[in-house]
């Protein structure tokens, strides 16, 4: 089955995870069961540290503090799923509650 990266973009909250409303947390935690029930599979999943911990390496080798671009939403986490097709991957993306940002579904090159 093809693999898709599901990238979660959200505005960062000052208190980090503690600021996430319980119903959002709950929906995130339950996504795994729904994904399994759809016949798809989570390959890997990662939540990211706040973007302030980012170090960006530019083309010339210069290392800067913070993310590459200033943006309102930053990647909060990502996971990789194996799904039947794009529509199923999009359905998985829809399971995730969006507070302020967006969820991006991106096909991966076949290994």
């Amino acid at each position: 089955m093809p693999q898709y990266a599901i990238l979660i973009y959200e505005k960062e909250t000052p208190g980090g995870v503690a600021d996430i409303p319980p119903e959002v947390m709950e929906a995130n935690l339950r996504a795994g069961e729904h994904i399994a029930a759809m016949g798809a599979k989570v390959v890997t999943e990662h939540a990211l540290q706040p973007s302030a911990t980012t170090r960006t390496i530019h083309k010339g080798g210069m290392v800067t503090d913070g993310p590459f671009i200033e943006s309102k939403e930053v990647i909060a986490g990502f996971f990789v799923v194996e799904a039947a097709d794009l529509d199923q991957a999009i359905a998985i993306g829809r399971l995730l509650p969006i507070m302020d940002g967006a969820v991006e579904v991106r096909p991966l090159l076949a290994p």
Partner: protein, 418 residues
């Protein structure tokens, strides 16, 4: 007498989508399926010339194309598992290769619908959706599509190729959308057809006001969708909208291509049968719950089309419909057209205030009709100098020669030289 070439051309226009969709089932690859279908049409010309035209040309072509596909797959020795570029629904039977493809007559099962939803998938850019629909559903050639959209052939070829690659890479399925997704996906497909019609009805650029071929194709697509999904009210609405617009096509310009505004069009030359069909469809589309944006636009178009004279247009009712349309589809273009109805019900000054608000909002920057409507309203409130400036802005923004000459004429009336 009809020549065999005409019969083939007619079958191309009417059967292409069905033949291609059935062939994609075998190849699971768009590119290969297209080649096989093209070959089948080429063979048809020869075979039908020698042996006569078959009773059911579409079935003949489908059989021939699928036969070509099986041959090609055998020659390539490719395992079908390597060709899963398009995903079949889990419950569907495997490719049926036993001759003429006559299964799946049910509305939800028609392969042509899968093809439409594939081409109009929201993961594709709007311009790619339009190009693919014309290429795969209507069977138009890439040079034809390039000409219709006034882009170089190479640009259009690259656009189509990129879109096909994306379908394969992202695995956009050849399948009916899930029931929960259907309203959104259907809206995307209707939007593509509407955009096609809009481009044909008033070309954004070029020497002539209309591109009748594109408008005709859009109308055929809308009719096909209505036949395939007769229960969908928005599909009926779209078909009605297109019919009501198309019914006026003969009267929208003079013999020498000059644009005629609605109030100067010869209503006796409008296509009465098309208008009657649109009217019946509108009645059905408005019934049973809150109407959608296509049904409402169709209702407005039908009111115009059934008004016995421009002066007899029911502007009050049109304004009510625009109010509802603005609620279900909050778009600045809707607001601009609503302002025209406001001008007719409560005078140009009220409408002008609305148009100026839209202008300040900035979302219609570069939209020639904003300047044109504003110019018209200024002219009617007796502010000639300001109207002239707006006409000049509209002239600079429009790419359509017929519209440009119309606006130049209005400018001359507004600000006589000297």
């Amino acid at each position: 007498m009809t020549s065999v070439a005409d019969v083939v051309a007619d079958a191309h226009r009417r059967e292409w989508a069905r033949v291609l969709a059935a062939t994609v089932r075998v190849t699971r690859d768009l590119e290969l399926a297209e080649e096989c279908v093209q070959d089948a049409y080429a063979d048809a010309l020869d075979a039908w010339t020698r042996g006569g035209v078959p009773d059911r040309p579409g079935a003949w072509l489908t059989t021939a194309a699928r036969h070509n596909a099986l041959d090609a797959l055998r020659r390539a020795g490719t395992l079908r598992s390597k060709l899963h570029l398009l995903v079949e629904p889990a419950s569907s039977p495997g490719p049926d290769v036993s001759g003429a493809d006559l299964r799946d007559g049910a509305a939800a099962g028609d392969d042509r619908l899968r093809l439409v939803f594939l081409c109009c998938h929201p993961a594709l850019a709007a311009e790619a959706q339009v190009a693919l629909t014309l290429r795969l559903v209507c069977g138009m050639t890439t040079p034809e599509i390039a000409r219709a959209f006034l882009v170089p052939e190479t640009t259009m070829a690259a656009r189509v190729t990129r879109a096909k690659k994306k379908i394969a890479a992202a695995r956009i399925p050849f399948r009916m959308p899930a029931p929960a997704d259907l309203p959104g996906r259907l809206d995307a497909a209707l939007t593509v057809i509407h955009l096609l019609f809009t481009t044909g009805h008033t070309a954004p650029a070029g020497p002539t006001l209309t591109k009748d071929d594109l408008a005709g194709r859009a109308l055929e697509l809308a009719r096909m969708l209505r036949d395939l999904m007769p229960g969908e009210r928005e599909v009926r609405g779209l078909l009605a909208l297109l019919l009501a617009g198309h019914a006026r096509r003969a009267t929208r310009t003079t013999a020498d291509g000059r644009l005629l505004p609605l109030e100067e069009q010869d209503r006796s030359a409008w296509d009465r049968a098309a208008i009657a069909e649109a009217h019946d469809l509108v009645v059905g589309a408005l019934r049973g719950g809150r109407p959608g944006r296509f049904a409402l636009q169709a209702a407005i178009a039908a009111l115009h089309a059934t008004a016995p004279a421009y002066e007899a247009t029911d502007w009050a009712q049109i304004l009510v419909l625009y109010d509802e349309l603005a609620r279900v589809w909050p778009s600045p273009v809707v607001a601009l057209n609503r302002a025209v109805a406001v001008a007719m019900t409560s005078g140009p000054a009220d409408a002008l205030a609305e148009v100026e608000r839209l202008d300040r909002e900035g979302r219609l920057a570069g939209y020639p009709y904003l300047a044109a409507v504003r110019a018209d309203l200024l002219r009617r409130t007796g502010r000639g100098a300001e109207a002239a400036a707006e006409y000049e802005r509209a002239i600079a923004l429009t790419g359509n020669e017929a519209e440009r000459s119309f606006l130049v004429g209005r400018l001359a009336e507004t600000a006589p030289p000297g």
